[in-house]
């Protein structure tokens, strides 16, 4: 089946099977390996991408279902070689250890800040609860989101 969709700002076309998962289309066919395969059943959030700006799980999404829509992966956040404020804040706050959860974490945080530019700590934790981190704990991740929020508000 032929699908067309916007991926990180560019119109693309792909040939997929009905049972191709969005995650596998991204990773194996389009070679965007930012989104990760974690649990495969919607528990961990490592495969999170943005669909029309909203975080969704690409391991539980059929590729055909994104036909005509807009997908953003972690590879689409930097602009002209310049990291997104969230990416920079995650580095600066040491919010990354093994890095496996980081792409999903940052994309979910981006959706949060797009919706609520000044979230409280509780709001950040509530919004990010579907993204599991097994290394650093969440303290530096929350700090990084707050720091990015401040920077983005100017």
């Amino acid at each position: 089946m032929k699908i067309r969709f916007k991926l990180n700002g560019r119109e693309i076309e792909a040939e997929v099977e009905p049972n191709t998962l969005l995650l596998n289309l991204l990773r194996e066919h389009l070679h965007l390996t930012g989104a990760k395969y974690g649990c495969g059943i919607g528990e961990c959030g490592a495969c999170t991408v943005l669909l029309d700006g909203e975080p969704i799980l690409s391991c539980l999404t059929l590729a055909v279902e994104v036909d005509g829509r807009e997908v953003t992966t972690i590879e689409g956040l930097a602009r002209d070689g310049e990291l997104h404020p969230l990416q920079r804040a995650f580095l600066e706050e040491g919010a990354v250890q093994c890095g496996f959860c980081t792409p999903g974490m940052i994309l979910t945080a981006k959706a949060l800040l797009d919706e609520n530019p000044n979230p409280s700590e509780d709001e950040i934790r509530e919004y990010l609860k579907g993204n599991l981190c097994r290394c650093t704990g969440y303290v530096n991740i929350v700090k990084a989101v707050k720091r990015a929020a401040e920077e983005m508000r100017g």
Binding site: M1, P18, N19, T20, L21, N24, Y37, C39, G40, I41, G42, E43, G45, T48, L51, E54, P55, I56, L57, C59, L60, T61, L62, V64, E65, T108, A111, E126, Y127, K129, G130, N131
Partner: protein
């Protein structure tokens, strides 16, 4: 579900099927009439795809509701509040109408999974998946929701009480599609509560409960209590409701009523909790939910 982690490769979807994305409701109903038994409705996929990955079900046809905008949206209509079956959970959570008119449903929907799950999942999907633990189900049971089912033969309305037949089983015929949920206007000055016990806040419930009640002259008038994850389907705690109706809500009465919930539940032991725990948790949850509901209804409960 977590039992399956690492036992099955959930990396791919190991099932071949034909994918249909009808443009109209009529077209969708025709597909259901043709493929009924062999078809599954895709409306979010957060439960369906997990079951397919685990090969618990292997449908030959997938009928996606993604193009059916007529099945989405929330509106106030004569006879209550109308929610299209394919309305995303997140849309319900964000809806001003729901937050103001049906805060009980707002809270129950917010308790479902994560942001990602609620961006994908739909209210109709949550109901048709027929998990005994579905958070929206207990809320809708106390709200007296009516479910609209359509087939090419026409429409029928199923009271939510009659909808759940067992784990994963509903009253829908294979050719029928759940199109809408209609919630009658709630009574004036009602008190309500939604409560859930889970290991973490994004878990499937170990036990969940919803209460809706009204007071008249200091006595409990209307009273509905529903519990989830403690029987093969979400259930009403009828005996407790009867015990409360027409009586003054004293702490003793509330305690007695919450003990009575055991009459209407039949919990099992699974990964999320033991049967014994669920019995005790049900009593405590109903007691707390009753107290909060009475307070919200303007009564003296603490």
């Amino acid at each position: 579900m977590s039992l399956w982690i690492n036992r099955i490769d959930t990396h791919i979807l190991p099932i071949n099927f034909q994918y249909h994305a009808p443009e109209t409701l009529e077209e969708a109903l025709k597909l259901l009439a043709e493929y009924g038994d062999e078809a599954k409705i895709l409306s979010g996929g957060t439960d369906l795809l997990v079951k397919m990955k685990q090969r618990l079900i292997e449908p030959r046809h997938i009928i996606s509701l993604r193009n059916l905008t007529e099945l989405r949206g929330i509106s106030e209509v004569e006879g209550g509040i109308h929610i299209g079956a394919a309305t995303k959970l997140r849309e319900i959570e964000r809806s001003q109408i729901i937050a103001e008119r049906l805060p009980l449903l707002h809270e129950a929907v917010k308790a479902i999974g994560s942001i990602q799950i609620r961006n994908m999942g739909t209210i109709g999907g949550n109901l048709c998946n027929a998990s005994p633990a579905a958070d929206s189900a207990v809320a809708l049971m106390t709200l007296g929701a009516e479910l609209h089912a359509q087939s090419i033969e026409g429409e029928r309305i199923i009271p939510i009480e009659d909808f759940f037949k067992g784990p994963g089983v509903t009253a829908l015929k294979p050719v029928e599609l759940l199109t809408a949920i209609r919630i009658p206007p709630p009574p004036e000055n009602y008190g309500w509560a939604f409560m859930k016990i889970g290991r973490t806040s994004l878990d499937i419930a170990t036990v969940n409960a919803a209460v809706l009640l009204t007071l008249r002259g200091g006595r409990i008038d209307l009273c509905r209590i529903a519990l989830g994850a403690v029987a093969p389907t979400p259930v009403r705690a009828v005996r407790a409701e009867e015990h409360l109706r027409g009586r003054e809500p004293t702490p003793e009465l509330i305690q007695e009523a919450s003990e009575l919930v055991v009459e209407d539940i039949s919990p099992i032991t699974d990964v999320r909790g033991t049967a014994e725990y669920r019995v005790e948790a049900s009593k405590a949850l109903v007691r707390d939910a009753l107290k909060l509901s009475i307070e919200r209804a303007g009564g003296g409960g603490r």
